[in-house]
Amino acid sequence: MQSRKLAALAAVVLAAGLAGCGSTKLTDSKAQAPVETRSPLATAPGGGSAATPPSANTAPTLPQSQVATVDLARTGAAAANAGAAAPGARVVYFDYDSYVIKDEFKALVDGHAKALASNRAKRLVIEGHTDERGGREYNLALGQKRAEAVLKSLELLGASANQLEPVSFGEERAAVTGQDEVSWARNRRAELKDR
């Protein structure tokens, strides 16, 4: 009798312990995807909301709300690529709600296709953009559609797919500020950049 009670008690305790283990807490799995850790910023002068380094874990007084800051400094490569398109004919402009490459840009696209066809080591990024009207995510997809349209043309004219990556900035990287037809027209574009 005694041993059965003990066994029952042990079972209850075990179950309670297991219940704790099988909690609904989400596993932050670090296994599969590559982890990129940037060390949280040291205390900035002037205080404010500096992150406490994780090792200084004085638990009772640690505030519950702290957020560690990740600062992405502009790298050399990023600085070179950002901003306006490189000079020369590298921008294709689009009509509103359109992905059709107009006749006036066919020569530009053709020229790039030939350059790519004659040098298989050459790579291009095609960046699609929209004007600022409408939602950001939908515009990101529209910009992508513009980049893909240019990519298709380049492929048809001799470039191979692995030389090209189509990306989009949606409305996030306006070439021209302004909310009028002229400004909007100058933002509806695809830019070709060397990779």
């Binding site: 807490k25 932050d28 990129e36 404010g48 990740v70 600062d71 189509p166 996030e172």
Partner: protein, 431 residues
């Protein structure tokens, strides 16, 4: 939304990282969400909130925070008391009732020897002439604001039977010149901290269900890539960096997977991906753009935007895939769906003429109603109690954040001078 740079902005271009952040830290943080009552709401419960004894010594105006929290919910009219009270006071509730209060709150903030603070309060019901609640919270100084928000939540719950969201947080993106920062603030707009600072845009922050991680889209590598970051540690990893654009992350309610918009196969389509990363499973196969997925709270359906019918409209599909059902019918351009926590309402943005306007509708799309009369609304997100929405809009030439009650009558505005605020996402309970 392009902007002129205000003249008062310091130049950020060539500063060192730390100096740049010091500048950021010493700028005045975004002020609180300011209340703008634009219509008479349902009867608001009058509550008197006395200054907490010694709150001035502690440096945090606990009673002010509680009053503002209660008012921002739209359910209370919160007034200060004209007498000094604390949680031990003997009060004649009939007197307070005669002065128009249905409830009375008083308390104290006492510094302990170890440097922490004991925040105590009492809530009285002046109508039924009884004590309702009495509590003590011991917190470090850095959590005094959080303690005040929790008190407001407890008062809110006690008096309405529903949870408040004052202790929750909001994530949003701030743009100043050519610098983008992903901020986390308290639900009142104060206490902002920076999760990410970048020279390139950040869009679409999405809270994990347990509030400890944010997924977001960053253009730091010159394309749209989805990252997941642990807020406490700053540890981050790329979740999706496939061919083309990777965007619109949305967590499943159990936190095990995300839905995303990926252009890896050409047109932007919906995929799901385990939260730990891996191979995406394609969810939609339309010959059009599918984007902006959001899970229903029961985890069984995904609402999303598709232009398969011509212009962008809102659809839903079972998480396992299959035929998609259209849900928005009025108007030619409907985007950015958000589903209420009880699964019964949809909030979204609809183009009406030249204006993009916040709407709510029943979950099947019927009964659509505009909540604003502004023209550039974006990015609606429900508070976890389903009673408020936060969204971005433009006012007086600036991008600002707003909250609104579901009837559109009580709105609050958060603005930061010299900076554009966008992409708000309301965090979950559980802090």
């Amino acid at each position: 939304m392009p902007r002129q740079l205000p003249e008062t902005l310091p130049s950020l271009s060539r500063r060192s990282v730390v100096a740049g952040l010091a500048t950021l830290a010493t700028w005045p943080a975004a002020a609180q969400f300011r209340i703008e009552v634009s219509g008479v709401g349902a009867r608001q419960l009058p509550v008197t909130v006395a200054s907490f004894r010694d709150q001035d010594k502690a440096g945090v105006a606990v009673s002010d925070i509680v009053r503002a929290d209660l008012e921002r919910s739209g359910l209370f009219r919160a007034s200060p008391a004209d007498t000094a009270l604390d949680e031990r006071s003997i009060v004649t509730l009939a007197d307070w009732r005669a002065r128009g209060a249905d409830a009375l709150l008083a308390g104290s903030v006492t510094r302990l020897i170890d440097g922490r603070f004991d925040v105590r309060y009492k809530l009285w019901d002046a109508v039924r002439n009884e004590d309702l609640l009495g509590q003590s919270k011991v917190v470090p100084a850095a959590d005094l604001r959080l303690a005040a928000h929790r008190i407001a939540d407890e008062v809110h719950q006690q008096l309405t039977g529903e949870p408040g969201v004052n202790a929750t947080r909001i994530a949003y993106v701030l743009r100043t010149g050519r610098r983008f920062t992903l901020h986390i603030t308290d639900a009142d707009g104060e206490g902002g901290q920076v999760a990410v600072a970048s020279p390139e845009p950040i869009i679409s922050p999405a809270w994990s269900p347990n509030g400890r991680r944010l997924a977001y889209v960053s253009f730091e590598t010159q394309k749209a890539v989805v990252w997941v970051q642990d807020l406490g540690s700053g540890e981050r990893r790329m979740l999706a960096n496939f061919r083309g654009s990777n965007s619109a992350p949305a967590w499943s309610p159990d936190g095990t997977q995300l839905a995303l918009a990926l252009s890896r196969e050409g047109l932007t389509q919906l995929f799901t991906l385990p939260a730990a990363g891996g191979t995406p499973q394609r969810l939609t196969s339309s010959n059009s753009i599918d984007t902006e997925p959001v899970f229903s709270p029961d985890g069984r359906r995904i609402y999303f935007v598709s232009d398969r019918g011509g212009g962008p409209q809102i659809y839903r599909v079972a998480v396992g895939g299959g035929a998609a059902e259209r849900v928005s019918f009025a108007g030619s351009y409907n985007i950015s769906p958000a589903v209420s926590p009880d699964g019964k309402l949809l909030a979204y943005i609809s183009r009406q003429g030249n204006a993009f306007r916040l709407m709510t509708a029943d979950i099947d799309g019927s009964g659509a109603v505009a909540l604003t009369d502004t023209a550039d609304d974006e990015s609606p997100s429900f508070a976890p109690n389903g009673r408020l929405l936060v969204y971005a809009t433009r006012a007086q030439g600036q991008d600002v954040l707003m909250t609104t009650t579901l009837d559109g009558k009580i709105k609050t505005r958060l603005l930061s001078s010299g900076a554009d605020m966008r992409e708000p996402a309301w965090g979950p309970y559980g802090r």
